[in-house]
Symmetry: C3
Subunit: 222 residues, 3 copies
């Protein structure tokens, strides 16, 4: 469940294409998971395509809108749009077999979360935003696609309640920012972030680590 040595090696060989490859795998995996949630709401295939799109590309869209970073990424990469919509629609055909692949999906999803977080940090860094905004940009990119998916599917976002997920994004972003401040080589820092993030996420799933829950049953707003 940890990144293999060959993955770490290839980062050093060619960081750019590796991050891109992980990104493409990640948006595909996110699109497929979005399609499954849409299917739980009995949506038609148009709804499936929208939810797949929003789950995969919504996080980056919200980040770019908040940071004023135009044009938004996918508008310059039509191939991403085709990829995520195809992945969403294809999912409707293969859904019945997908539970066999749940472990693979959790791994791809974790890699996506980390890739999204690092990309979000990089975008905010390039735009010279202050450190706290860099971290928030990374987290926004990592988790807000799933939040949008849940809002459109009329459920409380799972990210607010499940085992460590946003915390993985936060850890990765802080680590990345810290290593950047220390002038660590970009490839090394990226590899360290992936290794740490994947280890943390996989441990969280395995041991069901959760953040403390806040329950408040009095009515306050009305």
């Amino acid at each position: 469940m940890l990144p293999s040595v060959s993955l770490l090696d290839s980062f050093q060989a060619s960081q750019f294409s590796v991050i891109l490859a992980i990104y493409l795998v990640a948006i595909t995996a996110e699109a497929m998971s979005g399609a499954l949630v849409a299917g739980q709401r009995d949506m038609d295939i148009f709804g499936v395509a929208v939810i797949a799109f929003v789950t995969a590309l919504g996080g980056g869209t919200i980040r770019d809108m908040v940071l004023g970073h135009y044009p938004i990424g996918w508008t310059q990469h039509p191939e991403y749009v085709y990829l995520v919509i195809s992945a969403g629609l294809l999912t409707t055909l293969v859904a019945r077999y997908m539970h066999h692949l749940k472990r693979v999906f959790l791994l791809l999803d974790a890699m996506g979360l980390i890739a999204f977080s690092l990309i979000g940090c990089s975008v905010a860094l390039e735009l010279n935003y202050p450190p706290v905004v860099v971290v928030l940009s990374g987290m926004l990119t990592g988790i807000s696609g799933g939040i949008l998916r849940d809002v459109l599917c009329n459920q409380v976002p799972v990210v607010f309640r499940r085992e460590l997920y946003a915390s993985v994004s936060l850890t990765v972003c802080l680590l990345f920012l810290g290593l950047s401040a220390l002038d660590v080589d970009y490839n090394v820092s990226t590899a360290v972030c992936f290794a740490t993030g994947l280890a943390l996420r996989m441990a969280a799933i395995r041991f069901q680590w959760r953040l403390p829950v806040f329950s408040y049953q009095q009515r306050w707003e009305d």
Copy 2:
């Protein structure tokens, strides 16, 4: 249920004012339908005004925010704001008689969907976005007002489940883009889009054409 010959004629005479007139009728109709959904949630008249506004002008707002197209349309046209809020509030007075007009409303709503789609395509074309973004911009303008309305009213967006609606927008956008690429006269192409879109939407309502539904009952995310 199809656009009359005189409508097609007037397009050729004066495309601009006809599209504008249809747009004004459309945002009025959307505002009124928004108000009815707000009434199903027992909102007060402020809530009704907000939902009317969002249903009518929210699609264009989201499109402009995604495309980075500032200032957003209605901020330069205060009269649109007054129109949609008035229409929403007026609806609370005449709601009990509106079911007699349901057929008229479905027609106006279909015309609005097509007008919104064409306007959305045009905005993205002017900003030189690639074709897939032009189509998405048209669809975003056509359907996201209704999606916002449903999210604010705490229900799964109907557009993800009802008889052909977003598909009409998609068809119209693709047709418009295709005819533009073929250098067809703008007025002719607009008229063809309206005729095709209305025919498709009305047939979909009449014969209850729906897209295939994707049902997936296993829990995946949690």
Copy 3:
């Protein structure tokens, strides 16, 4: 329940720092109320932090995105981010004692609503938007943080249904715009807006003033 003479005095002495102080108190109070709503949904502390952030800073974020006003306020003030997240997390520790402070909270919330509204109007005025957009910008700043909170907590926004709240924002915005047009001194006009807004809001809570409700039980959309 009305602003004391000393508050009005201090406005005249130093309008800027007073508005800023009220703003900081207001975002703290909004963050705390957001945290309580998150607790009603049994969210983990990450969810609490997000809802606190969104309730306190979401209104200004949406206003800036709609007006194309970049960079968004909190991205240039990391201290606001720390403040609202700390306030949200602290709330989980002191929640059981907070119902004793409900009256204080309602007062702080009302002051926040008015401060947000005035700030929203000022931002739109500086950007030379027309009067109706100035008023909408004030209202958007005042109420959309709470709307976002409710959407993320999967409930119909309370602002669409409770005793006069958005109407207080509307009154304050119109008053502010009217006094600006009459060239009334900024400090005087701010003080008048606070006095009027607080009086109206407190009376609305005390006497349970509500806007008329629109109930419509026929199904229309489907």
